[in-house]
């Protein structure tokens, strides 16, 4: 049996990790807290830029530090709203059709994203995906520490996690598909027999052309 593995940000939705994070920062319990959170984020922004230049994992780690001190209840309570207001409107026109066709083939559809699990689970439900591999925040006494529970889902680790997932569930990786928009996901794309570049960045598009992988534009209406 085969599976289809999907990156999310930029692949199935036009938003990236920053958008839901901003939603949380802007929706604190009081305006004063919101202001404080935004100020903190502003101070951290140079670090975020540098981390993004270094690698995706470093960026994720820096970004999720902005959640430090938020309660687990609040993060979960707002998750459906984030999906409603931020993620659902950002789903690309072709995403649902692509996922439906994967399911028609009998594939297990698996979200593999560096985003946070409590956002990816409702989004997966919305898109009709079966399973989620996503980052998990560490909580102490139900308060986010800002760190992630290893393994951090990003870059080469995605490939490792997909291999493990396939082995655990009996999926034939040679017959499986993977979809991503980003050059940082080349490892994930490389472990399956049928990789596809979706709305690719310039580097991935060049690579896809060199390897003659399909290049799909889900952002276009038919």
């Amino acid at each position: 049996m085969a599976a289809s593995y999907f990156d999310v940000d930029g692949t199935l939705v036009r938003t990236n990790l920053v958008h839901p994070t901003l939603f949380y920062l802007l929706n604190q319990a009081t305006p004063a807290r919101t202001l404080a959170r935004l100020g903190g984020a502003l101070l951290r922004s140079p670090k975020l830029v540098l981390a993004e230049l270094r690698d995706r994992r470093a960026f994720n780690e820096e970004l999720y530090m902005l959640f430090r001190g938020m309660s687990e209840d609040r993060l979960h309570a707002l998750a459906d709203e984030v999906v409603d207001k931020v993620l659902r409107p950002a789903i690309y026109p072709g995403s649902r059709d692509l996922i439906r066709r994967c399911k028609d083939l009998g594939h297990a559809v698996v979200i593999c994203s560096g985003a946070l699990d409590f956002l990816m689970v409702p989004l997966a439900r919305e898109l009709g995906a079966d399973e989620v591999i996503a980052n998990r925040l560490e909580f102490h006494d139900r308060i986010a520490s800002g760190r992630m529970i290893p393994p951090v889902v990003a870059g080469p680790t995605k490939a490792l996690l997909i291999r493990e997932h396939a082995r655990r569930n009996g999926h034939d990786l040679d017959a499986s598909f993977a979809y991503s928009d980003s050059y940082s996901d080349v490892p994930m794309l490389s472990v399956v027999g049928h990789p596809s570049a979706v709305n690719p960045d310039a580097a991935l598009e060049r690579l896809a052309h060199a390897h003659r992988w399909p290049v799909v534009h889900l952002d276009r209406t038919p």
Binding site: G94, H194, A208, H209, R212, P214
Partner: protein, 534 residues
């Protein structure tokens, strides 16, 4: 007496000029070689717009178009895509002329609920600029993309079941057309396999309705697919078309063009090289010099940017079959050259363009389509080349594909063909996998890629030729791998290719060169037996 378009070479004959992709090469052919040239272009209609108006007011076996119109009705206007004509014609395209008149007629009769669909079937979707080219600025600006758009064979919610033939072939077509009160089809009939029932029943269908006729079994029974009477493909399409026309009210407007592919400056490419004037020879040498020194991609662009000055030679409207009879007659009149006796060795250049690579590179799979598909099938009666004979083609066979248009072809050529070239096996083992490939389907739906099954259809297109021809030898291939994958042999020169072909030919083989483009069809006549009075 032989037809003036059939020339037999002697020792003094000039070299023949053949296309080899986007280059022109000169080849010396042995004395006694028979060269078949295209007929001169038929004279174009002096007043095309008047001819269009006359045809739709005097249709065959149908009321005039104006009599079918009433205010408030739903009309779908469907039209052929950019695969016709080849290369794309100079503006105004025939479709622009017809649409302009039809839209005016609709407006005059209070019909404002209409949509225009480009009947691409599983061909790639046309880009905006390509649509603008065929419909003209005014229509494009007014209707694209809301009321003028490409058919989407994978938009399954917008496909509707029409009916089933007695043999169980299901007709599923674009729902807009099925639900319309009237479907007006604007056709451009380049070759005899176009038009007729193929326009609606194929142009607006999806994979399900292509399967009954686009398969290797059917293609093996086409003798040829350029002769509808002996084409199993056409028989099935007609059957499905009749079912279509029982449910849909179709008014067909078919048009034919002449074969004026090259503008005046290059019109010598139509002619016997022995008849070229000094200036024409000089023009050719200059062109060849320039092309040889131009980078490959730029050479391709040069050819792509030169539209052809085709002229309208006929407009035939009305009920599908009644109109199509006249279209076919005009097509054969332009293309058919009587040829007596089959060849042991058939030689032809393969040009840079096919119906499936407009504005893209002619990739290896399409080289195969041109050689064993179109070239082989350009006959009426019996194949130009004998059973087990050899075809020699000139083409570089470069391992290059247009990624946006032909992504599925890459996998077909590089993964499937090395496993098997057997069309039946490819059909049974792999076609379904490609037909459901999620990424390729999205490339077809949201980009400008051919549907993934189209790669298979392209291989089947060469199936009758593969079954009939013994060998294919390529002259001028820039690599050995692609010819090998396609099942072809390679030769460094035409002389070497002919010597190779002679190894499996009878003594003193009959060698024929098909000098195209422009399009020419061999109307085969059996040789007269000696001593029999005729």
């Amino acid at each position: 007496m032989t037809h003036p378009c059939v020339v037999t070479l002697d020792r003094k004959s000039a070299p023949r000029v053949l296309f080899a992709g986007n280059r022109l090469i000169e080849v010396d052919l042995p004395a006694g070689t028979r060269v078949i040239y295209p007929k001169p272009p038929l004279e174009g209609l002096r007043d095309p717009d008047a001819a269009i108006r006359y045809a739709i007011n005097h249709p065959y076996n149908r009321e005039p178009l104006y009599a079918l119109l009433r205010p408030g009705m739903k009309v779908v206007i469907a039209m052929d895509d950019i695969s016709l004509p080849l290369p794309p014609m100079k503006r105004p395209d025939v479709r622009e002329r017809v649409l302009t008149i039809v839209l005016q007629l609709l407006a005059d009769h209070g019909v404002d609920d209409f949509e225009m669909i480009i009947a691409t079937s599983v061909h790639r979707k046309m880009t905006g600029p390509e649509v603008r080219h065929i419909v003209g600025d005014r229509i494009f600006d007014a209707y694209w993309p809301r009321r003028l758009y490409n058919h989407d064979a994978e938009d399954l919610d917008n496909m509707a079941f029409v009916g089933e033939t007695d043999l169980g072939e299901r007709v599923v077509l674009n729902k807009k057309a099925v639900e319309a009160d009237l479907v007006i089809y604007v056709n451009l009939n380049l070759v005899p396999m176009d038009g007729g029932h193929k326009s609606v029943a194929v142009g607006l269908c999806g994979y399900e309705s292509l399967k009954p006729h686009h398969n290797p079994k059917v293609m093996r029974k086409c003798h040829s697919y350029m002769d509808p009477k002996t084409s199993e493909l056409n028989t099935i399409v007609e059957r499905m078309g009749k079912v279509t026309n029982k449910v849909l009210k179709v008014f067909t407007i078919e048009t034919t063009v002449n074969n004026r592919m090259f503008d005046r400056a290059l019109s010598f490419l139509h002619k016997n090289e022995d008849d070229w004037s000094g200036n024409e020879r000089l023009a050719f040498k200059g062109m060849q010099f320039a092309l040889d020194r131009t980078p490959d991609s730029a050479r391709q662009k040069i050819f792509e940017r030169v539209p052809s000055p085709f002229e309208l030679t006929g407009v035939f409207a009305g009920e599908t079959e009644a109109a199509h009879v006249h279209t076919l007659k005009r097509c054969f009149e332009q293309y058919c050259v009587p040829v007596e006796g089959q060849a042991d060795i058939l030689i032809s250049g393969i040009p840079y363009v096919s119906p499936y690579n407009v504005n893209a590179f002619l990739n290896p799979l399409l080289v195969q389509v041109m050689a064993q598909g179109y070239l082989f099938n350009m006959y009426r009666g019996q194949p130009l080349v004998k059973k087990g004979g050899t075809i020699i083609i000139t083409h570089p066979c470069t391992d290059r594909f247009d990624h946006a248009q032909h992504a599925p072809y890459v996998e077909f050529v590089h993964r499937l063909l090395p496993e098997t070239r057997d069309a039946m096996e490819l059909h049974k083992r792999f076609e379904n996998e490609f037909a459901q490939h999620p990424a390729y389907l999205q490339m077809y739906r949201r980009g400008n890629a051919y549907h993934p099954v189209h790669a298979f259809f392209m291989w089947y297109w060469g199936e009758a030729g593969r079954q009939h021809v013994g060998r294919v030898i390529v002259v001028g291939a820039d690599n050995a791998y692609i010819p090998q994958v396609l099942g072809y042999e390679t030769a460094r020169s035409m002389h070497e290719a002919i010597e190779m072909a002679k190894d499996t030919a009878p003594q003193s083989p009959q060698i024929t060169c098909m000098h195209l483009p422009p399009i020419v069809m061999a109307d085969m006549v059996m040789p007269r037996s000696p001593g029999v009075a005729t």
